[in-house]
Every structure is written in structure tokens, then in C-alpha cells.
């Protein structure tokens, strides 16, 4: 694991971020946090606490109603379209509902993320087989995603998010459909990525993931950040 020193620059910073959905659902209220480069952080909280909303705000799929979200020191509103798109290719996201293309094959789904970034063809295919092996999906490359079990689909979504070795990986409930053992595969992948410099932020209710490993945990409750620190 990477040693977090005070000199590592912050990758994600939130200042008093708030989000209200019409008509009056307060999803987040005055959330402030800072995550350094290469850190591996967990966001917890009960169902409806605002975990996914926070992930969406950091990933720029939505805009905060109040406050400011900085990624790599830059605010979304200040970027033009091309810059936003480039930034997005440098953020990997595991969506809670996967967002895979069900009729395309496993490797096509993962390759899309790399093609969009104009990676050379050889790098793409090497990376795909490497990731599928780690996700224990070898042999299923050519299967349409819709014929996979739900847990297999979830691992494809994780592989896609990690494909570009992004600077920032956002994972929303990445082990919701996985058993304990397979969940550990994911945790290991995340640790490897963090060690290589990727900032990993994971929203989860799966305490087995963060307990016993000394990771930083942010606890949300009804949209308010309650605790921020190591949990054992």
C-alpha cells in the first residue's frame, strides 16, 4: 500500500457540497472532504443516505446545488466540452446498475472504454485478458453480457472502469452481487490500483470490505457526513 504523506496532492476535494432533488429531497447537505492521490476510501451509510449521489457529483454526472467539487484541482463548470470529455476518460466509474450494453460481448464492453481513449489495439487486448483473469471471467470474453450471471456482469463493469488505469476510480456498491470470496478479488484489485497511484472511492454497505484492513471510511447519514476516519 502507498504511504500517504502530507505532500501527496489532493485528487478530490468537496467544499460544503449540497444536493436537493425536486421537489424537496435533500440528498446531501454541506459535505466537505478531501481525498489524496492514491488513497483508497470507503463511503458507507444506510440505503438512501446519499452515497450514490456523492459518487455522481464527484464523477460529474450531476452538478452540486451548493458548494464546489474539485477533481485534480479543477472545477467541472470551468471546463469546456472537450476538456470534460478528456477528464471523464481519466475517471473510471462502476455504476450501481452497471450500465453495460447487454447485447455486446464482454470484451467489446470493456474495449469500448479503451477505444474511446484511442488506445492502441494491442494494448487494449492485452489489458482485457489481464483484467478478465483477475476477475475470474476467463473463457467468457465472447459471451454477450446479457447471458452472464448478475455477479459476472458486475465484475465486467469493474473491469471496464479499471481498464484505462484511470487517475480516479469511483465504485458504487461494487460487491452488491458478489459473494465474500469474489468480493476479496475486487478489494485486491482496488488495492493494486491504489498502489499504482489511482485514487479509489468506493460506496458500499459491505462492511467486510473495509473492516479489518485499516482503510479510511466516510459515514453518511441522511445526507450528512458523520464520521471520517479509519474504522476497524
Amino acid at each position: 500500500m502507498v504511504k500517504q504523506t502530507q505532500t501527496t496532492p489532493p485528487m478530490v476535494e468537496c467544499f460544503k457540497v449540497g444536493k436537493v432533488y425536486p421537489p424537496d429531497v435533500v440528498a446531501l447537505r454541506d459535505v466537505s472532504l478531501s481525498v489524496r492521490q492514491g488513497e483508497l476510501v470507503f463511503i458507507t451509510g444506510s440505503s438512501g443516505a446519499g452515497k450514490s449521489t456523492l459518487i455522481r457529483l464527484i464523477g460529474r454526472q450531476e452538478k452540486p446545488d451548493t458548494g464546489m467539487v474539485l477533481v485534480n484541482g479543477r472545477e467541472g463548470a470551468r471546463l469546456n466540452q472537450a476538456q470534460q470529455q478528456r477528464l471523464r476518460r481519466d475517471i473510471g466509474v462502476v455504476y450501481q446498475d452497471f450500465r453495460l450494453l447487454p447485447r455486446l460481448s464482454v470484451s467489446r464492453n470493456i474495449a469500448m472504454a479503451m477505444e474511446v481513449d484511442y488506445r492502441p489495439w494491442r494494448e487494449t487486448s492485452r489489458r482485457i485478458s489481464e483484467l478478465l483473469e483477475k476477475m475470474e471471467l476467463t473463457g467468457k470474453e465472447r459471451r454477450p453480457v446479457e447471458t452472464l450471471s448478475r455477479g459476472e456482469q458486475q465484475r465486467v463493469a469493474i473491469a471496464r472502469a479499471a481498464a484505462n488505469a484511470p487517475s480516479l476510480l469511483l465504485a458504487d456498491e461494487p460487491t452488491g452481487n458478489l459473494d465474500e470470496q469474489t468480493g476479496l478479488l475486487i478489494l485486491n484489485l482496488f488495492r493494486e490500483l491504489a498502489a499504482a497511484g489511482t485514487t479509489v472511492i468506493t460506496a458500499t454497505h459491505d462492511s467486510k470490505l473495509y473492516r479489518d484492513h485499516g482503510h479510511r471510511v466516510l459515514h453518511l447519514q441522511q445526507g450528512i457526513l458523520q464520521t471520517d476516519g479509519e474504522q476497524r
Binding site: 460529474r60 454526472q61 466540452q81 472537450a82 470534460q84 470529455q85 478528456r86 477528464l87 471523464r88 476518460r89 481519466d90 475517471i91 466509474v93 455504476y95 450500465r99 453495460l100 450494453l101 469500448m112 472504454a113 477505444e115 474511446v116 481513449d117 484511442y118 488506445r119 492502441p120 489495439w121 484505462n164
Partner: protein, 302 residues
């Protein structure tokens, strides 16, 4: 992205994407192509009929003339002066002097099979006349009656006749034709817009998910747009060419069917001129292109 991609990587990626899109969605695409072809075919078919009707109408209009009946034959020496006086009115295409004999001969021709009935007539029972053919532009009843008034002031004129009744018939037939053509043009344009927009909606529905995911993955305009551009151009361009090609075959078949029959003597059917064909192909390619672009733009909002 860890830096600017090399040009070859870029081109390969775009080409792969285009090829894959076409390979995957060819059933939808060829349905769209057929729909565009059919719309263009129907539209151009009625345009073709319209243009040929207009041409036939113009030819009928050419036969419009004023006849000035005279008391006596005009001395050939006088003819140039009168011709000049008439031309002074302007917009005259032709002035013809018809003697008694010419009038009789033509009347006989006109009676056709019935000309036996003229056997016993004196060859000079018809009066001589001058025929004035205005230029096709001068069709209005008002201008014609002005011209007629003017002609009746010429010397030796007994009576000026121009087919008022025939002209009225011709005019109102033209009006009916124009209404029919306008209404069908409006309906077929509406139909084409509906058809093409439905086609594009279907294509979009098939692609919405993919476009959304490309957006989430941060695909740039070139990556998303180029395959769509290719598709739009292909559907609009190929589709309209297919439609116009089918129309040409139909046209050929029809004229072959009619070749030798009397109807072709009345007017010669012509196909759409090349510039119009180019315009139709270009317009439908652009229409399909812009609809695709609108779709992409919507999906590329960050």
C-alpha cells in the same frame, strides 16, 4: 488519456467503430434506407408527373392565337407594314397571313374524314384572315382583350376572334391541375417529413443506450460523430439514389409501353433534369445528416 493519440491510432479507432456500427445494425439501417428510398421515389414520381403536365400545358398554351377576319385579301405588298404595326404592340411571337385558299385548305384538313361535305362549295366561301400568336408569357385574359381591341383598329378588319371560351376552359383546367399538384405536394412533403422523422426516432431508440454510455465513458465528438455522419450520408445519399434509380426504371418502362402510341405525339415525356436529381440527393443526404447530428449533440452534452 495519457497524452495525444497518434493519428493512425485515431483513424483505426474511428474506422473500426464505423465498421462495427454498420455491421451490427445493418437490418435497422437497411430498413431506414428503404424507407428513405420509398419517400424519395414517391416524392420524385409526383414531381415528374407535375413537370410533364406543365410541359404539356405549355405546349397547349402555345397554340393560343388571335384570328383577325378581314373583308378582303390583303395585298402582299401591304403585309410587311401591317406586320410591323402589330409587332409594335410588343410580345408577339408570330404573325401569319391566311388567304381565302389557305383558309379553305385548312378547314378541309380540320374536317378530316368529313371533308367530302365540302365537295360542292366555292373555294372562296371562307374569309381571309391574319393570325397573331402572342408569346407564351402573355396569357392573361386582360392583356389578350387589350391586344384584340388594338387589332380591331387595323384597316379592313371585320371581326377579331380569340378563343375566349377555349381559353377559359384551359385556364380553369390549369387551376384544377395546380390545386391537385399543390395539395399532393403538401401531403407528400408532410409524408416524407413524417417518414424520415419516424425512421430517425427508431434508429435513435436503438442507439440511445449506446450513446448514453459513450457519453459516460467520455467519448469525444469525433469518436461518436464520425460513424453517425457516415450513416446519415449513406442513408440519405444511397436511399435517394435508390429511389431515383427506381423512378428512372419506372419512367423507362412507361415510355416503352407508350412508344408508338398516339399519346407521345401530343408531348414528349422528359425525365427530371440532372440538376434536380443532384438537388434531391443532396437535400436528402443533408436531411439525414442533420437529424443524426442533432441526436449526437443531444447525447454529447457533458
Amino acid at each position: 488519456m495519457k497524452g495525444k493519440p497518434r493519428l493512425t491510432t485515431f483513424l483505426v479507432a474511428i474506422l473500426q467503430q464505423t465498421g462495427r456500427n454498420l455491421a451490427r445494425s445493418w437490418p435497422t439501417q437497411s430498413m431506414s434506407l428503404l424507407t428513405v428510398a420509398l419517400s424519395v421515389l414517391i416524392f420524385a414520381f409526383f414531381l415528374l408527373i407535375h413537370l410533364n403536365m406543365l410541359a404539356a400545358g405549355a405546349k397547349l398554351g402555345d397554340e393560343l392565337r388571335l384570328t383577325i377576319y378581314l373583308d378582303e385579301d390583303i395585298n402582299p405588298a401591304m403585309q410587311p407594314r401591317i406586320r410591323e404595326q402589330i409587332h409594335q404592340f410588343g410580345d408577339i411571337a408570330e404573325v401569319r397571313f391566311i388567304s381565302r385558299e389557305q383558309a379553305m385548305a385548312r378547314f378541309a384538313r380540320r374536317l378530316g374524314d368529313e371533308q367530302d361535305i365540302l365537295r360542292d362549295l366555292a373555294p372562296d366561301f371562307l374569309p381571309p384572315s391574319i393570325e397573331v400568336v402572342p408569346r407564351p408569357g402573355l396569357l392573361g385574359l386582360n392583356q389578350l382583350s387589350q391586344l384584340a381591341d388594338f387589332l380591331s383598329t387595323l384597316p379592313h378588319v371585320s371581326r377579331v376572334q380569340y378563343g375566349q371560351e377555349w381559353l377559359q376552359h384551359f385556364n380553369s383546367f390549369n387551376r384544377l391541375l395546380r390545386i391537385v399538384v399543390l395539395v399532393s405536394a403538401a401531403l407528400l412533403t408532410l409524408n416524407m417529413i413524417f417518414t424520415v422523422s419516424r425512421t430517425i426516432q427508431l434508429t435513435l431508440a436503438a442507439r440511445r443506450e449506446e450513446l448514453e454510455i459513450l457519453r459516460l465513458l467520455g467519448a469525444d465528438r469525433a469518436f461518436v460523430g464520425t460513424p453517425f455522419l457516415a450513416e446519415g450520408l449513406l442513408q440519405g445519399g444511397l436511399g435517394s439514389m435508390l429511389g431515383l434509380g427506381s423512378l428512372y426504371l419506372i419512367f423507362q418502362w412507361t415510355t416503352n409501353q407508350l412508344a408508338g402510341a398516339g399519346i407521345l405525339g401530343l408531348f414528349t415525356p422528359v425525365f427530371l433534369p440532372t440538376w434536380l436529381l443532384g438537388l434531391i440527393i443532396g437535400a436528402s443526404a443533408l436531411l439525414c445528416l442533420f437529424s443524426s447530428l442533432a441526436a449526437i449533440n443531444k447525447s454529447l452534452q457533458v
